[in-house]
């Protein structure tokens, strides 16, 4: 403990001069080194949200179903019958860029702890991933490691991973994104919050021993850009132990359900430091922590190292005298360490002790609440344009073979099936999975109830780059639309805001715009933001990622039996397009794949129309009028149609009322479609080009199929909503015409081969 706690030391730990001065003021003089280390972590971007806090206040966060909004370990939403869902998403981008397997694995471990620390049993995981182009060997290595790490950890825990998304763009080459989302089921009367209380109560550390893992890890890595010093940061890699976490889940849930703890908090970024200071600050109490009592993996650790270690699989509990024997018994039964390391005091101070000597004495609330707030003056970047691109024959010569373009798009890594990834995940454990990966939303039933829940993950980073406000708004709309396609009512959002360096005006502008877009869409759709995460400094060598505000959304069913998927079901069914937006070139996958361009202005979602479409769509599904529904996203109308055809033979999922559906699985017979796009002007806008009608992208469009005899009733339910019959489900081929002029005919088997071609690119 000989290190001096000078300004120089503070700057090395990442604090600014002003911050150091403020610390000296709070502490009444030069702090101790332990105090300085604690401040440096608690006031890091990762823990203090210093650049984002004021902006995030823009989000709607409450509503009749919301039992817990942002601010706790997870948000909690009432889903009926006394059940609630806790959910949260967390980024582990930087650790994954250093060590993809362990980085992703510990990302899953961390977010799962956020869920069960509140008393919820984790019931679903999702993952939203971004990498550079797959043609780069390093990117394939990262993808392989990240997916392997998620599988390793989540599968061992017995939590089904049933959804997510993977995109590849050059902007993520030096800075991949790994966003892990988790949700759990909890009784509405069983919620535990991370608030310390009861002077004299014990502070108990449960789980793994403490080592030097991640000293300065997640919080430091996530608060700085990547540069040449990357190599030096490597020793802080954390290794996950899912086996210990599985035991922790069982032991902690038992402790909570038997009411053997006053409160509980997981140890995440900044380890003991953040958990103890947050618990004491929220409870208006003090905590005494005896760092020398913490069980160590490496004998010679110093107190400041113990306080900031990010060793995984640890929990902190506040326990009364009367409870402690039972707590020890439960931990012993699960072969977990359980150590009383301190006590709740009335001092309102966070005091750290080392063999009887006080090495830190910090006013808990000031540590938590007086962290600096920084607003960077925002600057609209030069690359932003206000007009869509002109789709003319010089800049965008039309494709000669539209069928070939379709297969090319289906094989593009951003569109191709991610089966390679999700088949590495156990998506069926816990026996609640209604819809496996591969359709628009993940669907689960709630046991002993008619009810169900659904989840979706969405963000098109390219759209957010071209227009962060419109792109972020569209991400929320798409997440909700994906739920509506499965028949669920969207009710709440968790978000992971991945951006570049917030000290730059352009990045700050992107951030403000995106938050505004999310806020407006959430207001319109009635889906408050209940939890989330901000990840800044996603840059490498000065190059920022595309702004990527990932949206995770929860939907609910009164009767999960109404659920449908995206697969065409029967020959002769009528295919109907809901929504009438014309396709755009700007920011589309077609623009990138066929023209190697990313430019223009993306369309703005009409939120009134969006809500109308989703309500009518859900009404039709609830009335059991539809056989399938699928959102039109990347690749436009043609890719969406192709996906409905491909899914007809490979869904592998079950329809709720049809026990035979699983048998129609991978070797099932293909269904095709025969569709006419109608007049060019109607579907492709002024440009009038068939390729734009087929592959152009636009929000607020859904393809449904309906038995011919139900077309009338469907018309009635849809009412004023713009919709149009496109054609019929047929066998074997996808055939598209435009005012009866043939555009292409391709065998569905061929579309399927292209769509399932990702493994070949990874070989």
């Amino acid at each position: 403990m000989s290190q001096p706690a000078t300004l120089e030391a503070a700057v090395t730990l990442g604090l600014s001069e002003d911050e150091y001065a403020h610390i000296c003021k709070i502490q009444g003089g030069e702090p101790t080194y332990v105090e300085l280390a604690i401040y440096s972590l608690m006031w890091s971007e990762h823990c203090s949200y210093k650049h984002s806090r004021p902006i995030l206040g823009r989000f709607p966060t409450s509503g009749p179903r919301i039992l817990q909004g942002p601010g706790e370990n997870a948000g909690i939403i009432d889903v009926g019958d006394g059940w609630a869902v806790a959910m949260k998403v967390e980024s582990h981008n930087h650790p994954s860029a250093v060590e993809p397997f362990q980085g992703a694995a510990t990302g899953v471990g961390g977010i799962v702890r956020d869920i069960f620390t509140m008393g919820a049993r984790p019931c679903v995981s999702m993952d939203s991933l971004r990498f550079g182009e797959l043609s780069e060997p390093r990117q394939r290595f990262l993808l392989d490691g990240v997916v392997g790490g998620i599988a390793h950890y989540g599968n061992c825990l017995g939590i089904p991973t049933i959804g997510g998304e993977i995109y590849f763009e050059p902007s993520y080459e030096g800075n991949c994104l790994v966003n892990a989302m988790s949700a759990g089921m909890i009784r509405t009367d069983g919620i535990v919050r991370a608030i310390a209380s009861g002077v004299g109560n014990h502070v108990v550390l449960i789980g793994s021993k403490t080592g030097r893992d991640g000293i300065g890890g997640a919080s430091v890595l996530a608060s700085q850009e990547f540069d040449e010093t990357l190599e030096e940061k490597r020793p802080s890699v954390q290794v996950g132990d899912p086996f210990t976490e599985k035991k922790l889940i069982e032991a902690c849930l038992e402790l909570i359900h038997r009411k053997l703890v006053v409160s509980m908090q997981d140890l995440g970024a900044a380890g003991l430091t953040s958990s103890s200071s947050e618990m004491s600050s929220k409870g208006f109490v003090g905590l005494d922590i005896h760092a020398d009592r913490v069980p160590l993996r490496e004998a010679d650790m110093e107190p400041w190292e113990i306080m900031i270690s990010e060793s995984q699989e640890r929990m902190l509990a506040i326990v009364t005298d009367a409870q402690i024997a039972d707590v020890r018994e439960v931990c012993e039964r699960w072969d977990l360490d359980c150590t009383a390391i301190g006590a709740v005091t009335d001092s309102k101070m966070l005091r750290i002790w080392w063999h009887g000597e006080r090495v830190a004495n910090i006013p808990a609330r000031r540590l938590a609440d007086e962290s600096p707030v920084i607003r960077t003056p925002s600057v609209k970047p030069d690359y932003i344009v206000d007009e869509p691109v002109a789709v003319d024959d010089t800049g965008y010569p039309p494709s000669a073979d539209l069928g070939a373009t379709l297969t090319q798009l289906l094989a593009a890594p951003n569109i191709a099936s991610k089966r390679w990834a999700w088949e590495q995940y156990d998506y069926i454990v816990q026996a609640n999975t209604v819809q496996i990966p591969g359709s628009d939303a993940a669907v689960l039933r709630i046991k002993d109830s008619q009810r169900g829940i659904a989840f979706s993950n969405d963000c098109n980073g390219r759209h957010c780059y071209l227009d962060p406000y419109r792109g972020a708004k569209a991400a929320v709309a798409e997440a909700a639309r994906n739920l509506a396609c499965a028949g669920a009512l969207p009710v709440a959002v968790t978000d992971c805001l991945n951006f570049g360096n917030p000290e730059k005006g352009e990045i700050y502008w992107q951030f403000e715009q995106a938050v505004e877009g999310i806020a407006q869409a959430c207001e319109a759709l009635g889906t408050p933001v209940v939890s989330g995460n901000v990840s800044f400094y996603n840059e490498s060598f000065g190059q920022a990622i595309y702004p990527t505000p990932m949206i995770g959304m929860l939907g609910v069913y009164d009767d999960v039996g109404v659920h449908i998927d995206d697969a065409f079901k029967a020959e002769g069914d009528v295919i109907v397009l809901l929504g009438a937006e014309a396709g755009w070139m700007d920011g589309s996958e077609y623009q990138k794949v066929a023209y190697n361009k990313v430019e223009g202005r993306v369309p703005d979602v009409d939120l009134r129309l969006e809500v109308e479409l989703q309500n009518r769509l859900r009404a039709a599904i609830e009335a059991r009028l539809l056989r399938s529904a699928h959102d039109c996203a990347e690749g436009g109308l043609a890719v969406a149609l192709a996906e409905c055809c491909i899914a007809s033979g490979s869904s592998g999922g079950a329809q709720f009322e049809d026990p035979e559906a699983p048998r129609s699985g991978r070797d099932g017979r293909w269904l095709g479609a025969d569709v006419d796009l109608g007049s060019a002007a109607a579907v492709a806008g002024a440009a009038g080009r068939p390729d734009l009608a087929l592959f152009g992208e636009a929000p607020t469009r859904v393809i449904v199929s309906v038995a011919p005899e139900l077309l009338g009733p469907l018309d009635e339910v849809l009412g004023e909503l713009p919709h149009r019959v496109l054609g019929r489900v047929t066998a074997t081929n996808l055939r598209c015409t435009m005012e009866d002029k043939e555009l292409f005919t391709v065998a569905v088997g061929e579309l399927h081969s292209a769509y399932e071609s990702l493994p070949q690119r990874l070989a």
Partner: protein
Amino acid sequence: MNVRVYVTPKKGILDPQGAAVERSLPNLGFTGVSGVQIGKIIDLTITGDGLTAAAAHEQVDDMCRRLLANPIIEDYTFEISEG
């Protein structure tokens, strides 16, 4: 030439396997066991026209760094013998 590569967890990096095995041993009736660490062993043969010992050494080292070990969390050593 016959090569045997030893890959072990880096010092200070958590070895969950070793820890779990160690923790379970007493329940199985094995007492007095400590410091359990689990690593990998990779045996292979390399051949090449006029491959010198020095060249083989370099090649194996490269192989370890790039594929056989994960230098971020693992250490490696190896032995080469004529065979």
